[in-house]
């Protein structure tokens, strides 16, 4: 059996269905299953990468050629994103191995695996209704995991997330309905081919429905009210999954739909404005937060605003920079959530004021947090510097100097609130009494260490990754090639 993109969906599903049976025999083995699955999937993603760079792999399911069957489109962009997601999934599994100690553990691993599988499915699919199904898989796993800790705030955050997420799926389905009634097909390549037969007014309405439906998951302003609560109430590794994986898949879906169906200039201008507003409001809100995980959530929203700005400029360079920023943000934000998880655990409270002086008690974890903070602010020699630089260069190349100024302003605000936390960690006296300060488990340290190495290596040698992203960026912009490949011409 040769490797093919359907393994990304079939193998985790098989493992998830097997876990209840395995759980009857050995609880310890259940904890290892996701690790094996993600290791295998990273291997598949990386070995399929050179094949995808050559010519995109279009795998048909059930033997029916598109547009009459569902197909998975594995081009350079999907290859890059799935490699990122499966590797991050493995690292987050390493971190959760010892972090999650509250029952029911086997359900946590099932939900965790399926959350990441749902995100992978969104990226791989070439069919519109299939994307809706995977969006729902991701959403339901996310709702359940937000309430996993079963405390009062968690249940409330999950309920709010559920209400807003249901609106998102309702609007997405309305958009699918309108498209089906106008063009009669559900395959991305086929719809892109026939989209010019749709009238302008209907196109705008479909665009609005997609923007609301996908924008809620992608956390654009003003639809991101659910995000700070969900990120802060979920267990920390799940916060890392939300910020590093789920939101990337949603932004990919939004951008793929816009670049394929709606690529006219007014849409890009509108997206640019939305991206700028999202970024500014999120960074300003982050300054006012007293709880560390809510601050990280707002910072995540702001970074996604920056990515949207990069994508909406529309040139190959800016899309490439946006993809680079997605990669860096996934790695850095995951590390920040990991460090914050243990810092909160040991200080006993979610407030930033409780972190005073922890730099002395927990030097290694605080050091990792400091690296993450410096990297996300965009300081050399960390990876965040290069992605921000490339975004600013490409935006300036397109002549949008005002946007450059606003991005720099947001970066300054970011620097303020991150340095505030870092200085509290190291320079303040210990105020609250810390509950017995235990050592951070090895699994957590290993996970954070791996991410820190990635941040530093990519910061010192960015060119290798940068050149790998160029075919991915070109694939997103090139509508005609997608139609040709997707319909198996």
């Amino acid at each position: 059996m040769s490797l093919s993109p359907v393994h990304f969906i079939a193998v985790p599903l098989l493992a998830a269905f097997l876990i209840p049976i395995i759980g009857r025999f050995s609880k310890e083995f259940v904890k290892i299953v996701p690790g094996i699955v993600f290791l295998y999937l990273s291997y598949v993603a990386i070995s399929l990468f050179p094949v995808a760079l050559n010519k995109p792999v279009v795998e048909v399911i059930a033997g029916w050629k598109p547009p009459f069957g569902i197909s998975l489109y594995y081009g350079p962009l999907a290859a890059f994103l799935t490699s990122l997601i499966t590797l991050m999934g493995f690292v987050i599994w390493v971190y959760s191995y010892k972090f999650i100690i509250r029952e029911p553990i086997e359900k946590y691993y099932m939900l965790f695996m399926l959350l990441i599988t749902g995100s992978t499915g969104i990226i791989l699919t070439g069919d519109l209704f299939n994307m809706f199904v995977f969006l729902e898989i991701t959403a339901i796993a996310a709702y359940s995991l937000t309430a996993f800790l079963r405390d009062r705030d968690g249940a409330e955050a999950a309920f709010k997330y559920l209400l807003i997420g249901s609106f998102a799926s309702a609007f997405f389905l309305l958009a699918v309905m309108l498209i089906y009634s106008q063009v009669g097909t559900l395959n991305f390549a086929d719809i892109a081919d026939k989209m010019n037969t749709v009238s302008y007014g209907t196109k705008i309405l479909i665009l609005i429905f997609f923007l609301v439906g996908l924008g809620i998951e992608a956390e654009v302003f003003p639809l991101n009210g659910w995000a700070p609560d969900a990120y802060s109430q979920a267990p920390s590794p799940i916060g890392a999954v939300f910020g590093g994986i789920v939101v990337k898949a949603s932004i990919y879906a939004l951008m793929r739909i816009i670049f394929l169906f709606f690529n006219f200039n007014e849409v890009f201008h509108f997206l640019l404005i939305i991206g700028i507003i999202t970024m500014l409001i999120a960074e300003m809100s982050a300054m006012k937060q007293h709880q560390i995980k809510r601050m990280l959530a707002f910072s995540s929203i702001g970074q996604m605003g920056l990515v949207i700005i990069a994508f909406s400029v529309g040139t190959t360079d800016s899309v490439q920079a946006g993809l680079f920023q997605m990669f860096n943000h996934a790695v850095i934000k995951a590390m920040l959530f990991f460090a914050a998880g243990y810092l909160v655990f040991h200080s006993g409270s979610k407030n930033i004021s409780a972190l005073d002086g922890l730099g002395r008690d927990k030097p290694v974890t605080s050091f990792f947090f400091a690296i993450g903070a410096l990297a996300i602010m965009g300081l050399p020699p960390f990876s965040g510097f290069w992605s921000k630089l490339y975004i600013l260069l490409s935006v300036a190349d397109a002549g949008l100097i005002a946007a450059v100024v606003l991005v720099l302003t947001a970066s300054v605000i970011e620097a303020v609130y991150y340095l505030r936390v870092v200085s509290r960690l190291y320079f303040n006296k210990e105020t609250a009494s810390h509950s017995e300060v235990r050592r951070t488990p090895v699994s957590g340290l290993v996970a954070m260490g791996v991410l820190a190495v990635v941040i530093i290596v990519v910061g010192l040698y960015p060119d290798y990754l940068w050149h790998m992203l160029k075919p991915a960026a070109e694939e997103l912009i090139n509508k005609a090639a997608y139609i040709g490949n997707g319909l198996l011409k």
């Binding site: 029952e103 209704f129 199904v133 097909t185």
Partner: protein, 226 residues
Amino acid sequence: MRKVLAVLLLAIVGYYMIDSFLKIPFGENRNTVGDYYLNTTVKETGSVNTVTSIVVNYRGFDTLGEVTVLFLATTGLAAILFENKKRKRRLQHASLIVRVGAHLIYPLIILLGAYVFIHGHLTPGGGFQGGAIIATGVLLMFMSYRSFEVSHKLLVYFESIAGIAFVTIGLSGLIWGTSFLENILPLGIPNSLFSAGVIPIIYIAVGVKVGAELTGLLDNLLKTIK
């Protein structure tokens, strides 16, 4: 104040939706992929129920996703309602008529549910509908009798084995055919019970899975007393 804002917002949204949907002609046959499915379903899949052949064969990947959604919902519900000490059901005894009637109807409902999902490729219905009917029968018994219990271990086994069967059938399409979920068994004579290749097998697995899952879900929801 809030109600006024909500009504205003919904009026705007509703106006645009009605405006654009009224432009879609109602009842006209448009040129869609559905025509292809109608024309080729008997020849290429052997199933006479076009909706079944779409759900299981042409767009079988969506069904796999849907089965996953149901599995996730059951797992999520069990995780959210998890207690270290088991919860108990509010024990109420229904009246005599309900009890006797439930006892008589319950096996017939299970039989009807099994019929619906076994004949999914011949008559309207299929795995999801049959599974829901079975769960409704079990709910009737839950509501009528104090002591009716269903063993969770058995449900978990049914659910997992049915799910594994579905994915294994898909993978066997990959191994012995050319693509995931391909129809590799002989197609048989249309309109007879043993036709349509893997479609009835998949639907039976789906029916058993949905029935077991919905039963477990209802059992979890009924147990609200600590």
